[in-house]
């Protein structure tokens, strides 16, 4: 079947469904124009860095605060040393090339310009679009090494700077919308911790199908 099979002209139900929707909506719902909400839903974030660190801990993420690139490289090297041997997948970005030059990991490296991460990757290293203090999240897009970079390996390390911190989800999404992040990327994700499940007796287990560890190296 060719892709053209899926064009609109060959989707006869499309017009029928739209017609049914329009016919249905001709009778307005009794509550179609209710009162607008006015309350403050989320308390303002007054100390973004403190809140981010606090939420990271709650999300079972590791946040390593560093003073400069040398300290970031040293912390990165320590995290890498604690992991089993195996390939590192890295987003191909000048700042990460510089960081890896300083960290000098003694293991094979694969850059995102060579394709996505391999199944056997032990760790991935990427940048982020922004960090969200309210939820202790990192906001990534396909530009941050692709889709698999933040989910395939058992450990995901994010290198970010304090300047990337935004107070809340509203700001992060408004910024993404304004900058057209979903126009230029096929994928975006707000990641708030390591992969987890509570499907067995509601007991929390980390590392269901994605990373067991999520480490943020946060440089001042």
């Amino acid at each position: 079947m060719e892709a053209t099979t899926f064009e609109k002209a060959e989707n006869p139900s499309r017009s029928r469904i739209l017609e049914r929707i329009r016919a249905g909506l001709r009778t307005p719902a009794p509550d179609a124009h209710g009162p607008a909400s006015s309350g403050v839903i989320f308390a303002p974030v007054e100390n973004p860095l403190g809140r981010f660190q606090q939420e990271c801990a709650a999300n079972l993420m590791e946040c390593l605060l560093t003073a400069d690139i040398n300290e970031s490289a040293a912390d990165l090297a320590k995290v890498l040393d604690s992991l089993p041997q195996g390939e590192i997948f890295i987003q191909d970005a000048p700042s990460l090339r510089r960081l890896l030059e300083l960290a000098k990991p003694a293991r094979p490296m694969r850059w995102s310009t060579e394709g996505g991460p391999r199944e056997a990757s032990q760790v991935t290293i990427t940048l982020a679009e922004s960090l969200i203090a309210q939820t202790g999240s990192i906001f990534v897009t396909a530009s941050c090494g692709g889709r698999g970079a933040s989910v395939v390996a058992p450990c995901h390390i994010v290198f970010a700077t304090i300047a990337q911190l935004v107070p809340d989800l509203q700001t992060a999404l408004a910024k993404a919308s304004k900058e057209g992040k979903l126009e230029s990327n096929s994928f975006a994700c707000v990641i708030s911790g390591s992969s987890r499940t509570a499907d067995i007796e509601k007991i929390l287990v980390q590392g269901a199908h994605g990373p067991r560890r999520l480490v943020v190296v946060l440089q001042r």
Partner: protein, 487 residues
């Protein structure tokens, strides 16, 4: 009585008497209750959040055609395909044909209630395609060949021992001590190969963002991320009602969905996907298809009184708080969507055979009080009952009983006589030890419970003797004047 109604009554009787089952559910829901309350406390003004979510969904549903077209236009502009399916058959045919035409032999699926609703997995298997459920709970119930028990927690009814035995039988590996972490690790190892060999990944969507042309998926395990990242084709199957106007609406919808669903502040992976892999991106599917499923939703939309049922974001909060769900369990409903929302929705989606579910409620209103988009669930259950009665779908005996009751209410002496006769008869039966027997008019209640204590005197008599002496005659009696026992 329909077969579905008869089966519901039989299964409900069995499940509500199964104390081990009730204990598993009680533990799971106690854990949820605590997490839910903690989650709500993290939101400064929970009621304002609910109201905002209601407004977003109301705007979307009342302009559904406009927002769906905006979403479609964006998806196509980004290289994706949008298919509109009038019913389950059309949706399954489209996906099966797509899969066979692309030489797909293995599909990995993330959790999606719409795919359960349209029975997609059996349709694909019929076409010779192997389907792997990859959400842990879904994987467990797939191995047991049973439907999900709960819309958010599919294997809520099983304890670790049962899951460990299942894995030993089906996967051939024993997990010492039934350790949940080891059980999860075993599932992870088993599903790794399908993730990296499947040609097609199928997901649902929690929201369709009109202004961005992106689907939004909320997951915790990462299986949804792998299903939508690794295979070369991604198909998202979703109901037409999932659309929302703006990307920024997620700033409140994501936290509210997570809080209501699991008690989390936000789910681990709040993902947006707006098409196939773009040029220059490191990875991602080459094809992206969105299947918009109607399957009865447009008919519900045409009912202005119940249109708001389409606001549902499938968080499961109404199931968790429902006293009926807590006792009869998820499978008893015999539907894709269980609990109060399922009881409201299913008669609209699957027809009058499921009208009996409107009666599977005490009308206590707990579901309405927790709904994060403020759907007036218990009133919709009542409206469904009204519709059933208006259509004449009630038993002759029930109609006669209500007619007699109405007559008695209009004639106080007959009412008093009926009460007197009832008390005398029941007292005599209970005295003979016949409570719960076939001759007991209260048999359904007394079968599994101690007999209801019978009052020595009627309310009218009590009123004359004591309540009336309080001198409330002129003012009348308000609710505050009566204790709960009196009511």
């Amino acid at each position: 009585m329909s077969y579905a109604a008869q089966k519901f009554l039989e299964d409900a009787a069995v499940k509500s008497a199964d104390l081990a089952h009730r204990e598993v559910i009680r533990r799971a829901l106690d854990s949820y209750d605590a997490a839910h309350l903690r989650g709500r406390s993290r939101i400064h003004d929970w009621e304002a959040a609910r109201q905002r979510c209601q407004e977003i969904k109301r705007e979307a549903i009342n302009h559904l055609d406009r927002y769906l077209l905006q979403f479609e236009e964006k998806v196509i502009a980004h290289g994706g395909h949008v298919f509109w399916a009038a019913d389950a058959q059309e949706a399954c045919d489209y996906i099966s044909n797509l899969a066979t035409s692309r030489g797909v032999r293995t599909v990995v699926k993330s959790k999606s209630m719409v795919t359960e609703e349209i029975q997609l997995a059996p349709a694909l298997e019929k076409a010779g395609i192997t389907v792997w459920e990859t959400d842990l709970g879904e994987y467990i119930v797939q191995l047991r060949n049973e439907p999900p028990y709960h819309i958010v927690t599919p294997a809520m009814h099983l304890n670790r021992r049962q899951i460990s035995e299942l894995f030993k039988e089906k996967l051939g590996e024993e997990v010492p001590g039934d350790d949940p972490a080891e059980l999860v690790a075993l599932a992870r190892r088993t599903l790794r190969r399908p993730f990296f060999s499947a040609e097609m990944g199928i997901s649902g969507a929690n929201f369709l963002v009109a202004d961005s042309g992106a689907i939004a998926i909320s997951t915790n395990e990462g299986n949804g991320r792998l299903c939508t990242s690794v295979p070369r084709i991604h198909v998202a199957v979703t109901g037409i009602e999932k659309v929302i106007p703006r990307l920024e609406d997620l700033a409140v919808l994501w936290p509210v969905l997570a809080t209501s669903g699991t008690g989390q502040g936000i789910t681990t992976y709040s993902t947006l996907i707006g098409g196939p892999r773009r040029p220059g991106e490191a990875d991602g599917p080459e094809e992206f298809h969105v299947v918009l499923v109607d399957n009865g939703r447009s008919a519900l939309l045409a009912d202005p009184e119940q249109r708001e049922v389409l606001h549902c974001i499938r968080c499961g909060a109404c199931l968790n708080i429902c006293p009926v769900f807590r006792n009869v369990g998820g499978h008893t409903y015999g539907t894709t969507y269980q609990g109060p929302i399922g009881s409201v929705l299913t008669p609209h989606l699957r027809g009058r055979e499921f009208e009996h579910l409107s009666y599977a409620s005490s009308l206590c209103g707990a579901c309405t009080s927790v709904c994060p988009v403020k759907i007036n669930l218990h009133h919709h259950l009542l409206r469904n009952r009204r519709n059933t009665a208006a259509a004449g779908d009630t038993k002759w005996s029930e109609r006669m009983m209500f007619r007699a009751w109405r007559h008695a209410m209009l004639h106080p002496r007959i009412y008093a006589l009926g009460g007197w006769l009832g008390r005398k008869t029941l007292r005599a039966l209970y005295g003979l030890g016949l409570a719960g027997s076939i001759v007991d008019p209260m048999r359904v209640w007394n079968l599994r419970r101690s007999p209801l204590p019978l009052p020595k005197e009627s309310f009218r008599s009590l009123w004359r003797k004591s309540l009336g002496r309080r001198g409330l005659g002129k003012k009348g009696l308000g609710r505050k004047d009566l204790g709960s026992n009196d009511l």
